[in-house]
Subunit: 131 residues, 4 copies
């Protein structure tokens, strides 16, 4: 089980007229969060793609408890709860500066070879980095 924390400052563009962060924008925050989790263990998602492996999202689910607001400095805790096989799962919790849990989410991504456009097993260097 590997975890990480990042901070994300809410941009004006990400708010909506309710004054909340638009519900669809968390998907972007979580993309940033998982890429930074991988970077923190020495693994570059960018390099993965350059080597011909794509990692599209297969499943995404989120429960929203409280809204985030403009200029909030959000904390996102990201966890890889189990060793990846053909798929890799990430769990996310978003907190505001006061430590209030705003939402909980989960994504499952699949490793795809760009050459064959078919699923492949987790790349060896990621398997090693995750240990």
């Amino acid at each position: 089980m590997i975890s990480n924390e990042i901070q994300v400052r809410v941009r004006y563009a990400e708010t909506d007229q309710m004054g909340y962060v638009y519900y669809g924008n968390y998907a972007t925050y979580f993309e940033v969060a998982r890429v930074e989790l991988l970077r923190s263990i020495g693994f570059s998602y960018k390099k993965l793609e350059e080597e011909g492996v794509m990692l599209p999202v297969f499943e995404f689910s989120i429960k929203y408890f409280k809204p985030a607001f403009y200029d909030d400095l959000l904390i996102i805790k990201t966890t890889i709860p189990e060793p990846p096989g053909a798929r890799i799962k990430f769990l996310y919790e978003t907190f505001n500066e006061k430590g209030v849990l705003l939402n909980k989410a989960e994504t499952t991504l699949v490793f795809i070879s760009r050459a064959t456009n078919r699923p492949i097993a987790v790349p060896d260097d990621l398997k090693v980095a995750l240990k």
Copy 2:
């Protein structure tokens, strides 16, 4: 059970470097889809807000089977599967022009009074429109 279909043309801005529609953008498509479903039964989401009722999303989940591409004319089928109470649920299926199912999703939204910032029951005029 009430259903509707809309068409959404994929914008260049909505693609990512994988050449797919970015996974987070479907949340926006589904927002458009449920607003148009409500409009099709004579109900304006904009007016709802002007009358002091907000309808934030409480839960969102999606499974992605196939990607959508730039300039695709997507068809989104939206369904309200059951009469709303304090919450309203929408189901979504996204198809491409060839009729291929790209993803399935679900959102649950809650009625919130702007005055009290607290959950309220489904507004009467929406209840009537849904009949």
Copy 3:
């Protein structure tokens, strides 16, 4: 001089907490507008890219006179004011449903060969379509 008009419904995602359409989102509307102008004369931007020609934006400028609001059905008038050479210029005017001019904008795009990553002249089939 070739012109076209499209309608764009403002999405909730596109508003910000001021209650306006976020100023950066017009770039996306104009992308839709110029692609539809080209489609209206029988030219597919998607096909252009598939044939190895990219058309990135080189210059973009906009003056905002009035805001657009959620659910507004905007009208965007797009014009190609002169025959393209190595560059193609588009002019845009955005109106709301009441016919009020909200903003005026201009983009200049350049034709780039994906193979050489260098500027090229306007493709012949676009030159023909523009006549």
Copy 4:
């Protein structure tokens, strides 16, 4: 003349199928850049809005010289070139990690009273902070 520099990491969501940062996304980067410039001199844009002053963009123009790519750590230099009156101008230059100038841009924003919806002079505390 007041200047500042921020770093922005390019998100996957911000790329398009050309593999570039979508041209419309720089508007968001510049919003972040000017807010951080103001924060660096002790001025909070969020607080400004809470006090009833909005600062919508009136003019925006940008020239793109080179694209930015996924995961690039961009540097944005922001300058307020002259003391603001009823309007405030910001200049931006975006560089990639190699120091290559990617684009140059300019925005002019106007101070609007939320109460009257009319232009007002630059608020006193901002005038002081800018000194």
